[in-house]
């Protein structure tokens, strides 16, 4: 077997050295009845060529985003990632390393984490950022728990513009930990009165902007009301690219900012792995979940980096830890930080403007289609249209025409009764032709 270096002779010699006669002597503690004598009922080993064929055939049964006019978003976005990114993250020294617990031989990882933290803090407009969470949704769950710790209260208010999956994650976690959640109803036109939901028991208000329907939300007033009531404002985003163009939550008073970083550096991957970005005000740093990388010096006085403040973490603090997270999104952070370094703010702003421009053009074109009603006043690269037919059906009909036309809101929240809403995203990968194809296909399907 190509992955196993030991030969039969090696094995015999090694058993002799250990002083046992048979490999199963080393498994003596396994209850006899449980020790398997035959290989399990799965196929036997396969060469590379065979594996490539099997998985190649499987992969061939999905429709890649790049192969069609593509407009799906709702928390996962198709962007162009430079070839440099995927090359570098596959370098052995990054790919096959572990969490940098031995900093003397992990300065590569530590330095990029330090750079990553700095980038995330700058993007969000916050004081400090951690070295990543699993993704935006679990990060949001952690943010709510953090707010509970900070405020010593246990009631979260969720905006109706929060991505339903994110809301579900918070709800599940809160349900399990016995905390309260007030979730406002789905709010496609950003009309909710969230201020009214904040009271003296509120630990945090969770507001997403751009919200799941694409609307941009001004958080300033919410922050004020929250702070007046001793609550924290948790600002969520699912499209990090928006921060190139839209006022960052840090400038609007957010206490914790959490979101999905997939758009920078990471592929769609059918939903994962992604990378959760997590930033906060300096004063809350010791309540943050996840790893933090900090600067220090070595025995020769040279600058170096280490993981720090780990007394917050499970491996030191155990049941008193701020989170149970251990493995995070290391390599996705690397992809993020490489892509962000290539972009720089100049590139980020430009790509963000292209996204916005493409979405504006698309919204204008779609507005001209009969049976399509664009709901948004404001948006970044995604907006919501109301259709004359159920969105799920329309999307299937579009797919049959070779267009992946967006995400029906009902896919995310079937019980919301908003079956006619379709979320449509347009990024820098879309061409005029793509947009025209979608518009014409919609005309056919709705016509």
């Amino acid at each position: 077997m190509r992955y196993l270096p030991l030969s039969p002779d090696d094995r015999a010699e090694m058993l002799a050295k250990i002083g046992v006669g048979h490999i199963d002597d080393l498994f003596a503690d396994v209850p006899g009845s449980a020790l398997l004598t035959e290989p399990l009922d799965l196929p036997r080993r396969k060469g590379e060529l065979e594996v490539e064929r099997i998985l190649g055939r499987m992969a061939g049964r999905s429709v890649p985003a790049s192969s069609v006019p593509f407009f799906c978003g709702a928390g996962a976005y198709k962007h162009h990632v430079p070839a440099t990114v995927d090359h570098v993250i596959q370098r052995s020294e990054f790919l096959t390393s572990y969490t940098p617990y031995q900093p003397e031989i992990a300065q590569g990882t530590l330095q990029y984490l330090f750079e990553f933290q700095t980038q995330v803090a700058a993007l969000t407009g916050m004081d400090v950022a951690n070295a990543s969470m699993y993704d935006g949704s679990t990060g949001t769950g952690e943010a709510v728990l953090m707010a509970h710790r900070v405020t010593k209260r246990r009631k979260a208010v969720l905006s109706g513009g929060l991505h339903p999956h994110y809301a579900d994650v918070v709800r599940t976690l809160s349900h399990m930990s016995g905390d309260a959640v007030t979730a406002l109803p789905a709010d496609p036109r950003a009309e909710e009165d969230i201020l009214a939901a904040i009271d003296g028991e509120t630990s945090c208000v969770v507001v997403q902007s751009p919200d799941v329907f694409g609307n941009l939300r001004d958080l300033t007033k919410i922050a004020e009301k929250a702070h007046e009531n001793g609550a924290l404002l948790i600002a969520v985003f699912t499209e990090v690219m928006s921060l190139g163009l839209v006022t960052p939550p840090g400038e609007m008073g957010a206490d914790i900012v959490v979101g999905e970083g997939q758009s920078i550096g990471n592929a769609l991957n059918f939903g994962g792995p992604y990378v959760g970005l997590f930033a906060a005000k300096q004063k809350y740093v010791r309540q943050m979940p996840g790893r933090l990388c900090g600067e220090t010096v070595d025995a020769d006085g040279k600058r170096g980096f280490v993981l720090t403040l780990s007394t917050r973490e499970q491996h030191i603090r155990r049941d008193k830890a701020t989170s149970n997270i251990c493995t995070n999104s290391g390599l996705c952070c690397l992809a993020f930080t490489i892509h962000m370094t290539l972009l720089g703010q100049t590139g980020l702003q430009r790509v963000a403007r292209i996204n916005h421009a493409n979405a504006v053009k698309l919204s204008e074109r779609l507005a001209s289609v009969k049976g399509v009603d664009v709901l948004n006043e404001t948006f970044f690269n995604e907006f919501t249209v109301k259709l004359a037919k159920p969105a799920a059906e329309v999307v299937e009909a579009l797919a049959a025409r070779g267009v992946l036309g967006g995400v029906p809101f009902s896919r995310l929240a079937p019980e919301a009764g908003l079956d006619d809403l379709l979320l449509v995203a347009s990024t820098e990968v879309n061409t005029d032709e793509d947009r025209e194809t979608l518009a014409q296909a919609l005309e056919e399907v709705l016509g």
Partner: protein, 522 residues
């Protein structure tokens, strides 16, 4: 990469270097500044044309001012990250015997498979008719996991081991709630030797953690568990093989004791690599167990993640598995994404979308490659390699639980270092100079100065032979009281020992300009 002054940024002087250089570089070992020191706000390493002819729809929320993100051209970016990489140690560069972490070979075939557009370039919310291949892969992975563990079903979506623990414990909580015992069953038993994620997880969802004491044989004893069991006990979280590298011989009895008392058995499966194809958790009475695909099934650790922690469930817990999951539908496979469609009683959702698809592909590629026979052989080799190291060092180093076979990792304590002036930490740092990544140190906590060595099945006998010889040489030197090789180590790494206290006392968690950026940029 340099800062704008054309000098690499270091805060100190190289004092230990006989042939100090002007640049601070030492031939192939290069100093590297931060991108914030070498980059510029105006620079970008991507080319796009400015868009034209549109009316912004940002309302009054357009971002103003500098973001504070410098860019680098592509050649500079490449060099920056390549140089950073060269300061890292990886499995591909040497033996990485980090106990509990299963640092096994990461085949590039798996990387290639994960990048097939049919897996990597599909959106989680495309119509299911357009992602049949992706669903097939998940379904096939689930079949493998269920078969290898002998369990009833699997929840794929947990994002890593700790998240899997959370998922499994939530399923247990849901089952308890369903029986109306939610208010009473509040206690989770956790052995002292457990990984930190176990108590942290239990606490996260409101359980109270009670410790099962450590015994001097390294095992959890059924009588200790029985002594703690009561109507308030919801579950035990037990690692098997355990964190001392031992298989729990009384596991079946422990499971039975819990079940008899109406409680559940959560098994931490981080060490599954020792027993794949040798024993099935389902045959041992386990109710829920997470599997670190990034350990047992070789998806790369990537400097700290991403991982994937599917949870296999017993018949008792299967109905409570969270959404989403894959099931056969009318036209091929379909996804159940909401409680109401499930027909079961899913306890909810623990992440957006469907989990770590990229890791699923790599893990299945590993499984197909090894096959049933190869996976069994891999576990045997992992155990053989660990015992070979144990046998090679046992006369010099002390074993906390006596001279008995281990599973896939060999555990030593620091008893043998007593009086030498050398600590476990010193010993680990001296290993770095010899070209090795240190073993896991000071874990499990119940063993003094623990050294947990997990070579995995990926090491050849000759690699182990040199490792043993090097460790013997170090051990003999330490015992001779020649401490310099240890207390000053590492001497040859990109950095010497780092000041962790300083880092924690006044945390510097991001770069800030030494003086206004505009000035610094000449």
């Amino acid at each position: 990469m340099l800062n704008r002054q054309g000098r690499p940024t270091t805060t100190g002087e190289a004092t230990s270097d006989a042939h100090a250089t002007f640049t601070g570089n030492r031939a192939l070992q290069q100093e590297e500044a931060l991108i914030f020191e070498s980059g510029r706000y105006e620079t970008t390493g991507v080319d796009f044309d400015e868009p034209e002819g549109f009316t912004p729809r940002l309302g009054n929320l357009e971002r103003k001012g500098e973001i504070g993100l410098p860019g680098l051209s592509e050649p500079e970016t490449m060099r920056h990250y390549v140089r950073l990489s060269q300061k890292n140690y990886g499995i591909d560069t040497g033996l990485f015997p980090l106990g509990s972490c299963t640092m096994k070979h990461n085949a590039r075939l798996n990387e290639r498979m994960a990048r097939l557009p049919g897996f990597s370039d599909v959106h989680p919310l495309q119509p299911v008719s357009t992602v049949q291949g992706a669903l097939e892969l998940m379904d096939e992975l689930a079949r493998y996991l269920v078969t290898l563990t002998g369990m009833t079903s699997v929840a794929l979506s947990p994002k890593a081991g700790a998240h899997g623990e959370l998922c499994g414990m939530m399923a247990i909580k849901a089952a308890i709630d369903a029986k109306g015992e939610g208010a009473t069953r509040k206690v989770v038993l956790v052995p002292e030797s457990a990984h930190g994620t176990n108590p942290a997880t239990a606490a996260l969802i409101g359980f109270q953690v009670k410790s099962v004491p450590a015994r001097e044989d390294g095992w959890v004893h059924v009588e200790d568990v029985k002594a703690l069991i009561g109507p308030d006990v919801a579950a035990i979280m037990l690692t098997n093989p355990n964190t001392c590298g031992l298989f729990e011989p009384q596991i079946v009895e422990i499971a039975k004791a819990l079940h008899d008392a109406g409680a559940y058995f959560y098994c931490d499966g981080a060490n599954f690599n020792a027993i794949v194809g040798k024993a099935r958790p389902g045959d041992l009475g386990v109710d829920a167990m997470h599997i670190n695909l990034h350990k047992t099934f070789s998806t790369p650790h990537g400097g700290g993640g991403p991982g994937s922690g599917p949870v296999v469930l017993s018949q008792r817990l299967a109905p409570y598995a969270p959404v989403p999951f894959v099931t056969p539908g009318e036209d091929g496979l379909t996804l159940v994404e909401h409680g109401k469609d499930a027909g079961e009683e899913p306890f909810g959702r623990i992440t957006a979308f469907h989990g770590q698809m990229g890791m699923y592909v790599r893990a299945l590629s590993y499984m197909l490659s090894h096959g049933s026979d190869g996976m069994k052989q891999a576990s045997e080799d992992a155990v053989l390699n660990a015992n070979y190291i144990r046998a090679g060092l046992r006369d010099l180093m002390s074993q906390p639980f006596g001279d008995k076979p281990c599973m896939h990792e060999a555990l030593f304590d620091d008893e043998w270092l007593k009086g030498t002036g050398v600590t476990t930490l010193d010993f680990a740092k001296a290993m770095i100079d010899e070209g090795y990544h240190p073993m896991t140190m000071y874990f499990p906590l119940v063993v003094h100065g623990a050294m947990l060595i997990e070579p995995t099945e990926s090491e050849s006998k000759s690699s182990l032979d040199l490792f043993i010889a090097a460790l013997r040489d170090l051990a003999i030197t330490a015992k001779k009281g020649e401490t310099e090789r240890f207390t000053g180590a590492p001497f040859h790494a990109p950095r010497r020992r780092l000041d962790e206290t300083r880092a924690a006392r006044q945390p510097v968690l991001k770069w800030t300009p030494p003086r206004p950026m505009a000035e610094a940029a000449e």
